[in-house]
Symmetry: C2
């Protein structure tokens, strides 16, 4: 299974690329936004494509073409303004969905944010970001793609524990980015996650089991 | 017909409130965001409600309760950042749709922007704003409400000419805010506009006729 990782140069993206690259079942394609990132992945022997999420659907579709699944883990990040949140996290995500369909890809995994589906639980200090994620997720639900929406809690850089809680609604919690990448990896071929969304935080269940039981 | 005008203190809103107030067929309710605006409308004998579009759906529903139609012509405006575009123009609009349904109101008119439905024609200098309007309009189309989406060209403060072009797709153009208000007014009870969206610029057709022929 060929997997396009949009936002491959992000921290979750890098963990996921490593997992996919080390597996016999998957071939990753790193979707990145600049030449330096492109060369860096190519130097590691990883297929990669240059895609600007502020570009057209056609341009994005060219970057995804020939893969079997798309993971969207890109984000404009905390150092840019809400204009980029609108153009990348929301519209860029929706263009990627349209591009996936155009390229004949039907599997799509979105990395969202804990409780993005429940407006009353949005993180108050990040409300505009949550609004963007909320509406991107809603578009995905109606896209016709075989989607999975993974909504992790506060992201940590520490080493993963391999153990999580995953459920439709969880209260506040955090999770290492490495464990989010593992949950994406486990979800890719787990039929049971198709057309489902779930919150994800550190917990007691081995990731693969937690994903199977969602 | 009781019509809640969300964003009544804006320039289109004020024109619309005047038209509705002068008509025997309509009773306007001015939905505004601060006490001063509230008193100003009340002093003119116009029913009004205080509503914060960054508040909850329930709070917005309270402000709309008892009306038969909602016109959404609010906007965070050019002097605030894209964080408010996300929270007011997008999420505030969608909360107003949810509030209308909660209050049992089924008619909803959205003031959008020329070509907001066609990403490739978005005004480049206003792309984040267009993205917000685009996704608010998409949510409205799927809301189950009897919607009309009016997408005016560049808004002018000059006196209306009473003549427009209205069609599903128009190229760049402008229109006085007074004429946009008249088009909203004509659309309110025109069955033919239900579940339709159209671009609107200054042109040759009397507004009422143009709306009937959409």
């Amino acid at each position: 299974m060929k997997v396009a990782v949009v936002g491959a140069n992000g921290q979750i993206g890098k963990h996921l690329i490593d997992l996919l690259h080390d597996s016999k079942d998957f071939t990753p394609r790193a979707i990145v936004r600049n030449e330096e990132q492109l060369r860096s992945f190519q130097n590691e022997g990883i297929q990669s494509s240059l895609v600007d999420l502020e570009g057209t659907v056609e341009e994005i579709a060219n970057g995804l073409d020939g893969t079997d699944a798309v993971v969207f883990t890109a984000g404009s990040g905390g150092h840019t303004g809400s204009d980029k949140t609108l153009l990348v996290d929301l519209d860029g995500a929706v263009k990627t969905m349209e591009a996936a369909k155009q390229a004949g890809i039907d599997r799509f995994i979105m990395v969202s944010a804990l409780q993005a589906h429940n407006r009353e639980n949005w993180n108050l200090s990040l409300k505009p970001y949550y609004a963007a994620k909320h509406f991107a997720d809603k578009e995905l639900e109606r896209s016709g793609l075989n989607y999975t929406i993974i909504r992790p809690g506060g992201l940590l850089n520490e080493t993963g524990t391999g153990k999580v809680f995953a459920a439709e609604n969880l209260s506040r919690g955090s999770i290492p980015r490495e464990d989010v990448a593992k949950a994406i990896y486990s979800s890719l071929t787990e039929e049971h996650t198709v057309n489902r969304g779930f919150d994800l935080i550190s917990g007691n269940d081995p990731i693969e089991e937690a994903i199977k039981r969602i």
